[in-house]
């Protein structure tokens, strides 16, 4: 049945996130926990629904079990629709052979049929790697106003970090004349956020051309965007100002969690007009016992706190026994920290257990020295934190 949508989103969620080490051993990066009750993918999905985009293809590849289970039919984000809604798009076997997704552009190329089904005027390309709240509708409006064929969302990054990003050099009207992927000497600090809006026809044309180019790495940043510029297409930058964080490394993931707390939290999730939705488990309310101390921390449903928690983010169902101390740490679902155990500067993945007397992490730690405890680990009494 014909089902026309003005704009659909394609969410690249197949990345391994190898720099998150143990945290992505069994889980795709977009399904990694964040901020107590969220997963990274909650942010782009919630942004979509809050921006009026109700059709989202989620492209999965690496370790999709936890991710698929989490996104399900999209109901938590109101994306379980009769017309449109959320579709999971794994690599598939076709009549002319099959292939894994070779790069970001190839992943979209392999799903051109999905795009065509909705006959959209515009396609929004997203990744599942970032924590941010963004109204894509504003970006689409700018795209239309500029009569662009492609709009790249950009954000100002500190100049000294600019060489880690794809940098957009623009005219005063926002038109991009040059795109440099990780330049040694960046000319400015307008970094691409990896978020693109394309006119559908242009996208399909360039994806097809790229597919037929031998040796291409089939990547948006490396191939598609430069090809558009070579052909003098109308590319515009859309400057986003607001919180945006790549959580691709242990230290940045820890840092982004810490941005939720502090005297003035950089990221405030309490706004009710732009909620971040997530899959909720039926957990009881949190209980803070008589002997508990909880300061500068964020605590989720189902936690039972009788010990001391400072400067930390606790996911659902975490138990902190009396006499246990947790500081400057991120504790994921259903972790138990027994009496007499201490946890400093750590990320403890779900279902782990820290036994009485164990010391995890270093009290003098910092963001570059975060102890990571893999899912389901039992840290015995005398074990010390030494791995970072």
């Amino acid at each position: 049945m014909y089902c026309k949508k003005e704009c659909i989103a394609m969410l690249l969620a197949g990345g391994q996130g190898s720099r998150l080490y143990e945290l992505t051993q069994q889980t795709a990066k977009p399904a990694v926990s964040f901020g107590g009750k969220y997963r990274i993918i909650d942010f782009p999905l919630s942004n979509c629904i809050n921006s009026g985009i109700d059709t989202v293809g989620v492209l999965t590849q690496y370790q999709p079990l936890a991710l698929n289970e989490y996104i399900g039919n999209g109901a938590p984000w109101d994306l379980d629709r009769t017309r449109g809604g959320l579709s999971v798009l794994p690599p598939y076997q076709g009549s002319k052979g099959s292939d894994w997704y070779k790069g970001t552009a190839n992943a979209i190329y392999q799903n051109i049929q999905f795009i065509r089904k909705y006959d959209p005027d515009y396609v929004l390309i997203l990744s599942g790697d970032h924590i941010y709240r963004m109204d894509y509708a504003a970006m689409l409006a700018a795209h239309k106003a500029n009569k662009a064929v492609c709009t790249v969302a950009t954000i100002e990054v500190p100049m000294e970090e600019a060489s880690r990003f794809g940098i957009c050099n623009t005219n005063p009207d926002g038109r991009i004349y040059e795109f440099e992927e990780k330049p040694k000497k960046p000319k400015n600090n307008q970094a691409s956020m990896g978020i693109y809006i394309f006119n559908t026809q242009t996208l399909i044309q360039y994806l097809t051309d790229d597919e037929n180019t031998p040796g291409s790495s089939n990547d948006f940043g490396k191939n598609i965007i430069p090809n558009l510029l070579n052909n003098k297409e109308r590319l515009f930058a859309f400057t986003f100002s607001g919180y945006w964080k790549d959580v691709g490394t242990i230290s940045s993931l820890w840092e982004a969690n810490m941005d939720l707390i502090g005297e003035r939290p950089l990221l405030d999730l309490s706004k009710t007009d732009f909620k971040i939705f997530s899959r909720n488990e039926a957990r009881p309310p949190q209980f803070i016992g008589q002997s508990a101390t909880v300061q500068n921390s964020m605590i989720s449903e189902g936690c039972v706190i009788n010990g001391c928690v400072r400067n930390s983010i606790l996911s659902g169902g975490v138990v902190i026994e009396e006499g246990a101390v947790v500081e400057n740490s991120v504790i994921m679902d259903d972790v138990t920290v027994h009496a007499g155990a201490t946890v400093f500067y750590s990320i403890v993945d779900s279902d782990s257990e820290i036994c009485d007397g164990a010391v995890v992490g270093d009290r003098q730690g910092d963001k570059d020295h975060i102890r990571v405890i893999a899912k389901g680990t039992v840290i015995a009494a005398e074990e010390k934190g030494d791995r970072t």
């Binding site: 901020g35 707390i261 005297e263 309490s270 939705f277 909720n280 039926a282 002997s291 909880v294 964020m298």
Partner: protein, 374 residues
């Protein structure tokens, strides 16, 4: 064999003065993030009862909003699921019903036709987390027409809500049912307002009620010579809390904090989770200077002050230097800076300004109505 459920959402609401001003008994908020109906509903859902009718007669806006299509209870189903029965259903009744029987009478044809051979009827004002499958199995094993769920008699159990004492012959067969507690001395159990009926038997009772124009299911039909009927009790020994008036409400709330067994039995059963409407609030933020102890707290709160022995619902804010003690603050309440709130039950969206001192007494908690500014 299969079972359907009926939940009465309005019964006994006159016992509450204020909490039911604008809502049904079923929709009274309880335990940080729940409403009373969540207990009755979750009991059914966790016992694989997937055809549930919720009967309401008035003030049901908040209840309808809470239930929605039933998705949060996994009850948004093609067949069965949650059916909301509003008073418009009762075509031949000119007034809102006030008794179970009136409500059921209008459902007679539905009950006669239903394919489920067993029917569970539950009120909302006595809360527990009970495995109804165990009750239903016993009901079938006894070949009973009616099984009444009871709890061993406790002297402090509120008399308002459970007016029925049941005396059995020791193996669960009902001997006598009485309204007064002094009437019977030994072997007595308190009825906790959950009936398990053989559907055909209930339909038969309803026919009789229509024929003789009876007014009450319990008084006119169940209490008459129960010893000659095929009635049994199922005595539930787990935690049961009556929430039948404001005093009860406050007592049950405070018991959640003081009684770990109560918390574990109501909320902590891993295979019997308590379901409720999902609000997507962020986790609760405890700021520097927060001091919280002995309290149960929902998501979405921001706490900068002191909270002791209290229950905070979703999105409550407690400002710097303020102390909240022995209190229950409903969703969206706001306590400014340097205020004291003691033994208060504040309904939704109450705003308590800076430097206020509000105190009830633990025997007489102070209730603040919805949306009031102090």
């Amino acid at each position: 064999m299969s079972t359907a459920g009926i939940i009465f959402s309005n019964l006994n609401e006159d016992n509450f003065s204020s909490l039911t001003e604008d809502r049904t008994v079923a929709a009274i908020p309880f335990g940080c993030r729940y409403r009373l109906i969540d207990f009755a509903l979750s009991n059914m859902v966790n016992s694989n009862i997937t055809n549930i009718s919720v009967i309401a007669n008035s003030k049901y806006r908040s209840l309808v909003e809470h239930l929605g299509a039933g998705k949060d209870w996994d009850m948004a189903r093609r067949s069965g699921g949650i059916k909301f029965i509003s008073p418009y259903f009762f075509a031949h009744s000119s007034e809102y019903y006030s008794h179970r029987l009136e409500a059921l009478r209008s459902m007679t044809s539905y009950i006669r036709q239903m394919k489920e051979d067993t029917l569970v009827l539950s009120d909302c004002d006595i809360i527990c987390n009970i495995d109804l499958n165990a009750v239903i199995s016993m009901h079938h094993a006894n070949g009973a027409d009616l099984t009444m769920v009871t709890t061993p008699c406790k002297p402090d159990f509120s008399s308002k809500v459970s007016q029925m004492m049941v005396k059995t012959n020791g193996d669960g067969k009902v001997q006598r049912i009485a309204r007064s507690r002094t009437f019977m001395q030994s072997n007595q159990e308190l009825f906790i307002n959950i009936f398990v009926f053989r559907t055909a038997f209930l339909a038969q009772l309803l026919d009789e009620a229509i024929a003789y124009n009876f007014q009450s299911l319990t008084n006119d039909l169940i209490m008459r010579s129960p010893e000659s009927q095929n009635f049994y009790t199922y005595c539930y020994t787990g935690y049961v809390a009556p929430v039948s008036d404001f005093q009860d409400y406050y007592r049950a709330s405070m018991e959640l904090l003081s009684n770990e067994n109560a918390r574990m039995q109501l909320f902590g059963k891993r295979d019997r989770p308590l379901f409720t409407k999902v609000h997507n609030s962020p986790p609760t933020l405890y700021r520097e200077g927060a001091s919280v102890s002995g309290s149960m707290i929902a998501d979405g709160c921001v706490i900068e002050g002191t909270v002791e022995n209290s229950i905070l619902f979703r999105g409550v804010r407690v400002g710097r230097g303020s102390v909240v003690r022995n209190s229950v603050l409903f969703g969206g309440c706001y306590v400014g800076n340097n205020s004291l709130v003691n033994c208060v039950v504040a309904d939704k969206q109450v705003l308590i300004s800076d430097n206020c001192q509000l105190s009830g007494h633990n025997t007489l908690p102070f209730y603040i109505e919805k949306n009031v500014k102090v």
